[in-house]
Structures are given as structure tokens and as C-alpha cells.
Amino acid sequence: MSTYILRHDEASCISCLACEVHCKSNKDLGPGPDPCKIITMGPFDVGRPAQPRMRIVFMPCFHCEDPWCVRACPTGAMQQREMDGIVHVEHSLCIGCKSCIAACPWGTPQWDPATRKVVKCDYCMDRFDAGLQPACVTKCVTGCLSFGVADELPDPRRERYARYLVAEPLGEGKEGS
């Protein structure tokens, strides 16, 4: 059962790509695989006068309840851990067939040319089991990434909306527009 969520608060993200390197460094990966990926788009014009805004999408593994990559794996290397639903690769079983890469609708499993096997986001299971947070969350520059039990982790968007209502009552603070 998929218990955890790795949440990205886009408004706090600065697209510094630190999470990608934190992840790769922790997994000792070289050029090629990106178990998590920041996709930055824009700027888009959202205001008058012109106001640029970018969109930042964070793509780790979503650790699906019914992961297609696990179904697609012919050797049982791609596994879903029973206790908490973490989807991970047992490297000794991976034969490098890439079925999981094809099966995942999000493009999450990554090909590692150094080992000629698949590597993916496993919420840094080694760290998790030692009571730590994933590398990307631990070292995130702005704190826009958070990790926890999916139905317990507070959503920063609700808190921000509440703060916004207090700071800027509707209709005020819009001078110059």
C-alpha cells in the first residue's frame, strides 16, 4: 500500500535543480540517469503590465498504488515494498531489459549506463530506513519539497492561501495594476 508522498510546492521552488544533484550524488550516479527531474517552462505572461511567471514541475517517482513498472518487470527486480508501498529496484535481479521504462506512464525508471541496469527514485530507502528524509528533501534549498505520510502531510498551498488572506485582503495591495 502506497503510504508516503513526496510533495513539491511549486510556489516555493526556484528551479535551482539542486534536488536532481542531491539525488544523483546520494545514489552515486554519473551522467545519464535522473531519478528525479525538474521541468521548467516559461516564462509565461500572466498579467498587465507584463508579468512573467514560470511553471516548475517536479518529477520523482509517484510510487503508484498499482505500479505498472512492477507488473512489467519479468524478473521481479522491480518491487513494491509491502509495508509502505515504496517501489524500488532490487539490482541483483535487474537484467537491464528496460520493460519498466516502457511501462511507466511518467518516464520514471532511468537507464544507468554505468551499471547497465535501471535505477529509480526509491524515496532514498536506505536513508528512510535509518529514520532520515530523502536526499532531495533534506537538502532542498528553499524547503519546497516535503515528504511524509500522504494523509498527514500538511499542504503548503492551503497555509499560503490563509497567509495571503491575512496579508492582502481582497481588493487591496493592487495599486499600479
Partner: protein
């Protein structure tokens, strides 16, 4: 023990798991870090959680420190002595003894020809310069330089003429600021982790941000207001803002009356610079500027005008920084919560600062070669003006320079116009690069001395300025993997060979640290507990009635006595800028959060993220030239160099300019990942080496004009 053995700290290779508190060196920000070491190998890097301002956060460059250490062997591994022509890439490996003896012989030749003042050193400034300044002075030369001529010299010298101290003495209290104004200070991408964290937290708490830049950076995308001004027009904007602030009478009269001189001079300078006047210069609608000033009135005094960091832009950049600082003064935001808190010396908290190494060597009476502090009183002699050292190499005026140490600094990538820079360097008797990597300058040097990486070396202790000063350390986490050495040891060994023993007469770094800490009440063991020791728990603000400014008049000088002495106006009229037409554009440069100057481009993980740049160009200018999005174009900057680069056609760059990231186009073949990738912007800045802001000294980098045309396909479709 042979004098040339590597001086490791005790226990560096000890088995088991250790935590070492240290300081990052993947860029020039020097964030506090925590290093986890297992059996002598660094296995995890993160921010130092004892420092609440950073916590465990680290940027991409910081995390890529492990890749630098263990996956990038394309760096100098022993001392190298050049055997062919300069820049020819022919080297022989040398022992430390041999390389250091070679350097000492050449220094003696230099001294015979030019005197000791013919020796110079440049570095990238920062908190460790007591060592490099001591080295230069011990040799008998006044010629120490920071890299600031192509970085922050304009802002630094502007603050000095106004307040009597550098802008680094002004610490923004971002957590309580209501409105932050940024002139191209791209906080998110030219990234300093603590600053970016504080910035994003303040934004989340409702801080307004006005971001002014010809290009919409990521920071523009977070701002509440973005003005796409014409390139190099920000001084006109500030003159109009000041005009309107005075007209709407929203300045802090009590503060100004008490602490500021020259208000009449200011009124006279801006009397005609109305919001309407600036429209044709900047492109900002007059009504928007007025609305902005009304907003300031609502938020004052909790408004900060950021004086900039990299301000080597155009020939009135000094006055952009200076008028931004004047606006802070008008807001009355000095030494109040939610404003600029003044950096305090340890004595403010009843503490003694670190003992300086430089106190161990006699003062040098010779004038500096760049005239800083003498013939050019407006330039701070503590940072100097590097391009004028190059002028002296070339012309031997006012006197000759024969030996140059570039310490962890790449003047060939940093300074504009590589051909001109190399012409000057060619005249040297000795050019030494001390670095962890092959820089462009190193490749052109006579000797490369490999410094141990920041994980492999200990530095001298440093005293960090701030509202509360602290002592910080870069401790050695692991033993060097190659035949490299820490800088303090390298400089000591050179001085010993010059029979200068007293300046750095320490056998170990711990002995040196004990000298620095003597009488401070802090021990090395305490330093190692957290990697730093704060000299107080909380900032102690100076009451208004006790505020003093170290200017000649003791006041904040809008009309500066120092500028007057230099024969320069304190508020010159704005110099209108012509719009480049046809295939001509101003070349703007900038940073991204994963790369630092030329420094990290060969790192396996960072190179992968951004192996090349793109050229931002406005659709209205690209179309007539037959240039589409993603096309390859040729870029020329006056010299023989032609850059080939793919375009990003976007309205988020001002039509008069093109933009590219700085630091690409490396020519060192041994650094294979960076070699030949992207375009070297500094090679497109033809004729700019000696083109600078006369008041601040900073290079006029963004006045460089380039020509753009579609590239002829090279080997088929691009």
C-alpha cells in the same frame, strides 16, 4: 619530515564515521557545510544545520562536491612547469621542491628588474584574504587584487563614497522587509543559499519585489513587479525615482536632516529627471513609476534598494549602485529592523577579533600600481582594480609588473577581451596559477600549483562580518587524493625560499589557528564543535543618536568629498544610450544556479545539466535577420573569435540586447567535458579590457556590442 610533505590535520584518515564542519568552495559564497566521512572517504555533504540560516540546504554545486572529489580526475595532480610556448599545453610534471624553487628564482629575477612591487596576486576576495594579502605584503609589494573589477567594485566603491564603508557592511533584514527592489540582482539564479532561502521565505510572507532587468530571469518570475528596462538605463530610472520621492516628500526627513549632507546637491541633480523624462531612456511608463513611488510611501522605511553584486556592467554602474544606496538613505532604513542592519565589529559585543596574519609583516610604502587610494582616491586600495594591473604589465606604467600569482582565480575567463589580456600576460617573467582545476589562466601560466580541494584542505580561520560577526573554519575532511597542498602551506614555502620566514612561520594549521585565536577566548576545539563560533547571541542595534559614518564629514555624503578630490561629479547627468540596430546587439551575460563562473563546467554532474548555453534574442529583432527559435547563429564581438550558439527566441529579453550565460567555451583540452562547449562571452567583449566606469572602476561588460547572423550549416543540418 621533509618540508614538502603534505600537512594533513591530525586523524584525517582515521577509520570509522566522523562529522566534519567546514565550508563549501564550489562557488565564491562559501556556505557552511557538514561533511560525513567514513573510513577516510567523504560520503555525504549538506548544509551545516548548526547555522539556522542555511540548515541542511545545499545547492546543486554544493552537492556536486563529491563528484569533484571522486569522479573528476581531470584536474592538476602534481605541480606542472610549462615547457612550450605560453598556452601551448606542453607541461612537465615537477616535484613541489622543484616547482617552488623555480618560482623563487623567477621572483628574484622579477625583483632585480622591477623591485618587489613588480610582484602581484589576485584572488576572488572573500573571508580568507588575510593569507594572500600577507603573502604579497611579505614579499614587499602593495599589489594585491581581488577579482572585483569584473564583479562588485562599483557597488563597493559607491558605498564607500556615501557611507565610508563597503556595501557588504549593510545586512538586509529580509525577514521584515516589505518591499525589495532589485536591479538585475538575480537572487534565485546567481545563487547564495542563505540569501535565496531568506528571499523566498520573505516572499511567502508578503514581501513585494520590484525586479528591474532587460531580461526576465527566474527572479523576475517570482517578483511582484517586473520592469523590462532598456539595457544599461537603470541610472536614468533611479534619477527619476529620486525625483519623485523628493517631490512626493516620502523620505525620512528626521533621518536625512541629522545624518545626510548634500540634499541640495541631490535636489539640483534630479530637478529635471521627471517620470516623463525617463520614459524614452528606460521604457518604463511614467504612471507606473509614480505608482511604484506611492507604494514605497506605504512601505517605508521597510524598503530596501539592493545595490547589486555583479555590477561590472556599464560606465555609470557605479552611480546605479550609489543612487540605489541614496534611496535607502531617503527611506531612512539604516540600522532599523526591516532595513539594513550595519555589520558590527567584534568590539561591539565586547569581543576580540581574530589576530591578523598581516600584522606580522611591515607595511609597504610603495604606491599601488593601479593608483587605487592615491591617484585614484575613489578606488579602494584594499581591493584594487585588476584591469589596471594588466595595463601596467603591458605598458610598464606607472611601473612594471613581472610576476603574477592567480590564486583560485581565472582572470582570463573573468576579464573581458581575452586577446588583450593575453597580450599583457605575455610580458610577465612569471605567471603562476594556484588552483584545484585547469583554468583558462592556468593553461596560459608558467607554473600550475595544484591546491588541495576544499574537502582535502584546511584554510586559515576567517572572521565573517555581519550584524553578529563570527569565526568560521574550513577544516580538512579527507586526505588529498593527489600530490596537492593547501594554500597556507604553498605561500609559506614560497616565502621561505625568499628568506622571508616570520610572516607564515607555522608548522601546522593548528599552530596557525592558535595564533589567530590567541586572546579571543575561543579555542580550536570549540571551533570544531560546530564549525563556527558566533560572537553574540543576537544583533545589538546602534541607537540612532550614536550612529556615525566613517566619511570625511562623518555624515552620509551625497556629495562625496572623495569623488570631489578625484575630480568626479557625485551625481553626473545620465548619458543617453543609442539603440544598436540591424545585426548589432548589446551582449548581456549572467548566471545559472548550477554553474559558477568558469569553475564548475567540467564537473561531471554539473556539466550534464548545462553543457552549453543558448542565446536569448527578441522575436522582433530575430525575424528580420531570418533567425528562428533553436537556430544556430554566429556571434562576433570585434575580434577574430566567432561563437556558434543556438537561439532561444523570446520576448523576455529586451530587443536591444542578446543574452548568454557566462563562463563557457573552455579551451583546456584536458578538461574534456567542458572543452569547446558553448561560447566564451569574454572573447566577444572586444576592446573592453580597459573600458571601465571611472568612478567605481568596474569593467563595462554589458556595453559590449556583438553581431549576430544565421550560421552556415556545418556538416549538414543543424
Amino acid at each position: 619530515m621533509s618540508s614538502t610533505m603534505a600537512p594533513n590535520v591530525a586523524g584525517v584518515a582515521a577509520p570509522g564515521r566522523r562529522t566534519v564542519y567546514s565550508m563549501c568552495s564550489m562557488c565564491s559564497v562559501r556556505c557552511p557545510i557538514e561533511v560525513t566521512v567514513e573510513d577516510g572517504r567523504a560520503v555525504w555533504l549538506q548544509g551545516n544545520p548548526h547555522d539556522k540560516a542555511i540548515g541542511a540546504s545545499l545547492c546543486a554545486k554544493g552537492s556536486a562536491g563529491l563528484a569533484l572529489e571522486y569522479d573528476d580526475d581531470q584536474r592538476p595532480q602534481t605541480p606542472l612547469i610549462r615547457t612550450g610556448p605560453r598556452g601551448g599545453g606542453q607541461w612537465r610534471r615537477a616535484s613541489w621542491d622543484e616547482a617552488l624553487d623555480y618560482i623563487a628564482d623567477k621572483l628574484k629575477e622579477t625583483i632585480a628588474a622591477f623591485g618587489p612591487r613588480g610582484i602581484m596576486l589576485s584572488d576572488r576576495s572573500g573571508p580568507f584574504t588575510d593569507l594572500t594579502r600577507t603573502f604579497v605584503r611579505a614579499l614587499g609589494s602593495p599589489n594585491y587584487f581581488t577579482h572585483d573589477a569584473c564583479c562588485t567594485a562599483n557597488a563597493h566603491n559607491a558605498a564607500r563614497t556615501l557611507f565610508g564603508f563597503s556595501h557588504e557592511g549593510l545586512i538586509p533584514d529580509l525577514g521584515r522587509v516589505k518591499h525589495l527592489v532589485l536591479y538585475g540582482r538575480n537572487i534565485i539564479e546567481a545563487l547564495a543559499v542563505k540569501e535565496a532561502k531568506a528571499f523566498m521565505a520573505a516572499l511567502a510572507n508578503g514581501m513585494r519585489v520590484t525586479y528591474i532587468d532587460p531580461r526576465a530571469t527566474f527572479t523576475a518570475c517570482k517578483a511582484t513587479r517586473y520592469w523590462q528596462v532598456r539595457p544599461n538605463s537603470d541610472y536614468a530610472l533611479n534619477l527619476a525615482i529620486i525625483h519623485e520621492v523628493l517631490k512626493q516628500k516620502i523620505y525620512d526627513k528626521a533621518f536625512v536632516d541629522r545624518f545626510v549632507s548634500g540634499m541640495d546637491y541631490l535636489r539640483e541633480a534630479v530637478k529635471d529627471t521627471t517620470p516623463e523624462w525617463q520614459v524614452s531612456h528606460t521604457g518604463v511608463p511614467a504612471e507606473q513609476l509614480r505608482a511604484f513611488v506611492r507604494e514605497l510611501a506605504a512601505d517605508a522605511a521597510h524598503v530596501i534598494f539592493n545595490p547589486g553584486w555583479g555590477t561590472a556592467r556599464h560606465k555609470q554602474s557605479f552611480h546605479v549602485s550609489r543612487t540605489a544606496l541614496i534611496l535607502n538613505v531617503l527611506m531612512g532604513n539604516i540600522e532599523i529592523p526591516g532595513g539594513f542592519i550595519l555589520a558590527k565589529p567584534p568590539a561591539r559585543y565586547g569581543r576580540k577579533g581574530l589576530n591578523h596574519l598581516i600584522a606580522r609583516v611591515p607595511k609597504v610604502e610603495q604606491p599601488r600600481v593601479d593608483g587605487a587610494g592615491t591617484t585614484r582616491p575613489q578606488w579602494d586600495p584594499e581591493i584594487g582594480m585588476l584591469h589596471q594591473a594588466f595595463a601596467a604589465m603591458e605598458t610598464a606604467q606607472p611601473y612594471g609588473i613581472g610576476a603574477y600569482f592567480a590564486y583560485r582565480h581565472d582572470p582570463i575567463t573573468g576579464l573581458p577581451d581575452t586577446e588583450a589580456a593575453k597580450r599583457a600576460l605575455e610580458k610577465l617573467k612569471l605567471f603562476v596559477s594556484i588552483d584545484v582545476r585547469y583554468s583558462e589562466a592556468g593553461w596560459f601560466a608558467d607554473v600550475i600549483l595544484p591546491e588541495a580541494t576544499y574537502l582535502e584542505r584546511a584554510n586559515i580561520l576567517c572572521q565573517m562580518g555581519g550584524a553578529v560577526p563570527n569565526f568560521s573554519m574550513r577544516d580538512q575532511a579527507i586526505a588529498p587524493r593527489f600530490d596537492s597542498r593547501p594554500a597556507w602551506w604553498i605561500f609559506r614555502e614560497i616565502l621561505r625560499r625568499m628568506d622571508i620566514k616570520e610572516a607564515l612561520d607555522f608548522e601546522t594549521i593548528e599552530e596557525l589557528w592558535n595564533y589567530q585565536l590567541d586572546g579571543t577566548g575561543v579555542t580550536v576545539a570549540e571551533m570544531r564543535e560546530k564549525g563556527f563560533v558566533s560572537l553574540a547571541n543576537a544583533p545589538k542595534l546602534i541607537p540612532r543618536e550614536e550612529l556615525r559614518f566613517p566619511t570625511p564629514s562623518g555624515k552620509i555624503e551625497i556629495e562625496s568629498a572623495v569623488l570631489k578630490q578625484a575630480g568626479l561629479p557625485s551625481l553626473p547627468p545620465y548619458e543617453a544610450k543609442a539603440a544598436p540596430a540591424d545585426d548589432r546587439f548589446l551582449l548581456l551575460i549572467g548566471r545559472t544556479a548550477t554553474l559558477t563562473h568558469g569553475q564548475s563546467f567540467n564537473n561531471p554532474l554539473l556539466n550534464e545539466i548545462a553543457p552549453e548555453q543558448v542565446l536569448w534574442i527578441h522575436p522582433d529583432r530575430a525575424r528580420p535577420l531570418g533567425i528562428g527559435d533553436g537556430d544556430t547563429v554566429e556571434v562576433r564581438g570585434g575580434g577574430s573569435y566567432v561563437g556558434r550558439i543556438k537561439t532561444r527566441v523570446t520576448p523576455w529579453i529586451h530587443p536591444e540586447a542578446v543574452f548568454m550565460l557566462h563562463g563557457f567555451g573552455a579551451t583546456v583540452p584536458l578538461a574534456t567535458r567542458a572543452f569547446g562547449r558553448g561560447v566564451a562571452d569574454q572573447r566577444l567583449q572586444g576592446g573592453k579590457l580597459y573600458d571601465f566606469d571611472p568612478a567605481g572602476g568596474g569593467c563595462a561588460l554589458t556595453e559590449a556590442i556583438v553581431q549576430i547572423k544565421p550560421a552556415v550549416a556545418e556538416g549538414g543540418n543543424q
